[in-house]
Point group: C2
Chain length 136, copies 2
DNA sequence: GTATATTCCTACTATTCAGATAGGAATATA
DNA sequence: TATATTCCTATCTGAATAGTAGGAATATAC
């Protein structure tokens, strides 16, 4: 229950890899072999990370990916959302109008509360916590 | 991300339905039509709820399902776990030995913390909150 | 004791989605 | 011009979820 996609786990490893390079860049192939991630799959992951502004890239020879900003400023929520979108226990979480049960939907507030709890936890932790391995 | 299965949502509606009967029983067919849940699918859900001790049943004519205990004593965690098992962001959450990354797995503590946050939220809320609709 | 209403059990089908793969276009460097 | 890279699009595959189907077991009522 509530399992995290392989994609998100890969993304965290990739970001942690880049974080350790302190601003230097790495190619997708470097990251893939170091982290044991299928290269072609990783390319898609890096593309999403780039769309979310978490990494920047350069094409061509000597190209690669570089982390944007400092590790302590990259929230885990940002990485998770870059991969699988916002936390949504139920689809109607952000609009009562879209709820099949309508106004009568009693569990809706409950799910919104769950979303808040998850978002808060993910937002309180940064990539730095992962890299340093000294979080909770 | 972190979406809840239809099964769990159905289960909550079914339990809320039973809770409102205050100890009286209802047939699967009653619940199915009142809550708009496919009957045959609901039967499987009720079977799991029974296995977890959340409802009891009686067969034959005048049979049906009855909620066990009081609504305030039925945690939402119990319902969720009855449907989809325990909260497990990553599969190695309960044993480092089963972690493919082994001792070197930095994110593991992070995921365990997430599990704790989710478990805590689900455990703090009961079926009573849902039925009364005045939670958070 | 027969008809009926119900839970309970097993198997099957359909659909969706995650994970992965493939090929090659665009682009930058040497 | 050769090469190394990101970037784009399409496709395949296996597993899981959601739902369906049929009937066995069991209890009640007449």
């Amino acid at each position: 229950m509530f399992s995290v996609s392989a994609r998100t786990q890969y993304a965290i490893r990739a970001m942690a890899h880049l974080a350790r390079l302190e601003g230097k860049s790495a190619t997708a192939a470097d990251i893939a072999s170091a982290q044991g991630i299928p290269l072609k799959y990783l390319e898609g992951i890096l593309s999403r990370l780039k769309l979310s502004g978490l990494v920047e890239s350069e094409r061509g020879k000597n190209g690669g990916y570089r982390m944007q900003g400092r590790a302590q400023d990259v929230s885990m929520l940002a990485i998770v959302e870059a991969m699988d979108g916002s936390v949504k226990p139920v689809s109607c979480v952000d609009s009562a109008a879209s709820c099949a049960q309508g106004r009568a939907c009693l569990p809706r507030k409950f799910w919104i509360g769950l979303k808040s709890a998850i978002d808060a936890y993910l937002n309180e932790h940064s990539l730095k916590d992962i890299v340093e391995g000294d979080q909770v």
